[in-house]
Amino acid sequence: MKTLQFLFAIWKANLQSVMEYRVSFLSQMIGMMLNNFIYFAIWIIFFDRFKDVRGWGVSDMYVTFGILASAFGVVSVLFGNAFMLSEIIVKGRLDYYLSMPKPVLLHAVSSRMIASGMGDFFYGFLSYALSGYFSWDGLLRYVLAMLLAATVFAAFLILTQSLSFWFGMMSNFSNLVLNAMLTFGIYPITLFDNYAKIILFTIIPAALMGAIPAEFIRVFTWQSLSQLLIGAIGFLGLAIFVFRLGLRRYESGSAIQVEV
C-alpha cells in the first residue's frame, strides 16, 4: 500500500513536471496521435487492395494496433525510464536510487514520464472504438489486456536493458530488440510459421503485446487470458531477477548529480 502511495506521488510529480511546458506537452500528445493515425492509414490502404492476410482483416489490425499503442503508451507515461535503464546503469546514475529507502528498480523506472506516450495511450482506445469490435465488456477486456501487455513490455525493456550490468552500454542492442518487438507486434500473426511464433512468444514476446491481447479483446477465451497472465508474471519475475542479479555487479559512478 505504501509502495502504491509512493508510486502515485512520483507519477503526480512527473505529470506536473511535463505540464510545466504545456504547449510542448500538448503538441507531443496530439502529434503522436496524428502520427499513429497516419501510420495506420498504410494498413487501411493495404487491406483496401488485398482484403485479408490469411484471415486477418483491417478490423483485426485496428484492435492489434490499438492495444499495442495503448500498452506502449502506459509504459512510456508511467515507467518512462524503462527505455533508458541501460544508460542509467552505465553512467552510474543508479547511485541516486540506491541511496533512497524505496525499491530501486521501481523508483528508477517510474522517475520519468514521456509526454508523447499519452498520445499513444489515447490513440489505442480510439483505434479500438473504430475497429467494429467495440462492446462494453470488450472495453473491460481491453483495459485488462492493455495492463498485461504493458507488463510484458515493461519487463522486456528491463530485461534487455539490464544486460548493461554485464556488457556495458547496450543502446544499439536495446533499440534493435525494441524495434523488433514493435514491428513484429504490429504485423498479423498469421504471417508467421510455427518456428517464428515460438520466438514471438519467448525471445521477442511481440505476440504477447499485439496478437494475443487482440484475440482476448475480440473474444474471451481462458486460453488467451492464461497466455497473457503467464507471460506477464513470467517476464516480470524474470526481469526483476535479472535486474537484482545485475545489481550485485553494479559499480558506483561516484558522480554528484541532481536528478530532475
Binding site: 511546458y21 504547449v23 510542448s24 503538441s27 507531443q28 496530439i30 502529434g31 503522436m32 496524428l34 502520427n35 497516419i38 501510420y39 492509414a41 498504410i42 490502404i45 493495404f46 483496401d48 487492395r49 488485398f50 485479408d52 492476410v53 490469411r54 508523447s116 544499439n172 542492442f173 533499440n175 534493435l176 524495434n179 523488433a180 514491428t183 513484429f184 504485423y187 498479423p188 498469421t190 504471417l191 508467421f192 517464428a196
Partner: protein
C-alpha cells in the same frame, strides 16, 4: 572552388568521424534485417493469396528489392531536424554562425558525411538478407543507375528536415513534426507499400509530392532502370529541390532575425 573545399573538408571529417564507433554503426545497421524478414513474410503471403506472379508490374523479388532500397534511404539518413533544433534551442547555432562558413551548407556537409557509411551498411545487410530470401535483383546494374536519385533523395530529405529543425525558432519542441513528416514519407513515399499498389487516385497525388521523389522514385528506378524513368525521377527531384531550397533559405533568414545571442 575554395568555398567548396571547406565544405568538402567538413564532409570528410564527419565521414571519418562516423567510423569512430564501428560497433555502434554496425549495430544500428542490423535493424534492417528483421524489417526485411517481416516484409518478406507479408508480401510472400500477399502474392500467394492474390494468386499472381506479378502485381502492378512488380514481382515478389522486385517488391523486396524495392523495399530494401527504400529502407536504406530512410534508415541511412541522420536525425538532421533534431540536430538543427538542438543547435537553435541550446544556442550553439551562435558558435557556428560566427565561423567562416554558411550554417545550412555546414549542416548539409555534416549530414552527408554521416549518411554515407550508414547507407552502405544498411544496403549491405539489407541486400544480403533479401538476396538470401528471394535471390539476386533482376537488374543488378540498377544499383548504379539509382545512385544519383538516391543522392537527390537525401538532398530532399535534408531540405525538409532542415525546415523542421529551424521551426525550433518558433516552437519549443519539433519532435511532433519529425514524426508526422516521417509517417507522411511512409505513406506518400511508398516506404512500406510500393505506390504502384495504391488506388489510382492516390497514386496520382502521391507521385507528384516530394515524398515520392525522396523514396519511391529511387527505389522504383533500382528495380526498373529504364532511361525514361531515370529522366522522369531526376527531373522531378530537381524541381522539388529548387522549390524546397528557396523555401528553406527564406525560413532560415526569417529565423535569424528572431535570434538573440546573449554572449557566454
Amino acid at each position: 572552388m575554395k568555398a567548396f573545399s571547406k565544405y568538402w573538408s567538413i564532409f570528410q571529417i564527419t565521414l571519418i568521424n562516423s567510423l569512430a564507433y564501428p560497433g555502434e554503426l554496425i549495430g544500428r545497421s542490423l535493424m534492417i534485417i528483421p524489417f526485411m524478414w517481416v516484409f518478406y513474410q507479408l508480401w510472400k503471403v500477399t502474392f500467394n493469396a492474390a494468386g499472381a506472379e506479378i502485381i502492378s508490374g512488380l514481382t515478389l523479388r522486385d517488391t523486396l528489392w524495392y523495399l530494401m532500397l527504400a529502407e536504406t534511404i530512410e534508415l541511412g539518413r541522420p536525425p538532421i531536424a533534431r540536430t538543427i533544433a538542438e543547435n537553435v534551442k541550446d544556442g550553439s547555432i551562435a558558435y557556428i554562425l560566427n565561423k567562416p562558413y554558411d550554417f545550412l551548407w555546414y549542416q548539409f556537409s555534416a549530414a552527408m558525411g554521416e549518411t554515407i557509411f550508414r547507407a552502405i551498411l544498411n544496403a549491405l545487410f539489407g541486400g544480403l538478407t533479401v538476396w538470401f530470401l528471394v535471390g539476386a535483383p533482376k537488374h543488378i546494374e540498377g544499383f548504379l543507375i539509382a545512385v544519383p536519385a538516391v543522392l537527390g533523395a537525401w538532398i530532399l530529405h535534408f531540405c525538409i528536415n532542415a525546415m523542421i529543425g529551424l521551426s525550433a525558432f518558433a516552437v519549443e519542441d519539433v519532435s511532433a513534426f519529425t514524426w508526422i513528416y516521417q509517417k507522411l514519407a511512409f505513406i506518400f513515399g511508398g516506404m512500406l507499400i510500393p505506390l504502384d499498389f495504391y488506388p489510382q487516385w492516390l497514386q496520382t497525388i502521391a507521385k507528384t509530392l516530394p515524398f515520392s521523389s525522396a523514396i519511391y522514385g529511387p527505389a522504383r528506378l533500382f528495380v526498373t532502370p529504364t532511361l525514361e524513368l531515370f529522366i522522369s525521377v531526376i527531373s522531378l527531384q530537381i524541381v522539388w529541390i529548387l522549390v524546397l531550397s528557396v523555401i528553406l533559405v527564406f525560413i532560415y533568414r526569417r529565423g535569424l532575425t528572431q535570434l538573440t545571442v546573449n554572449g557566454g
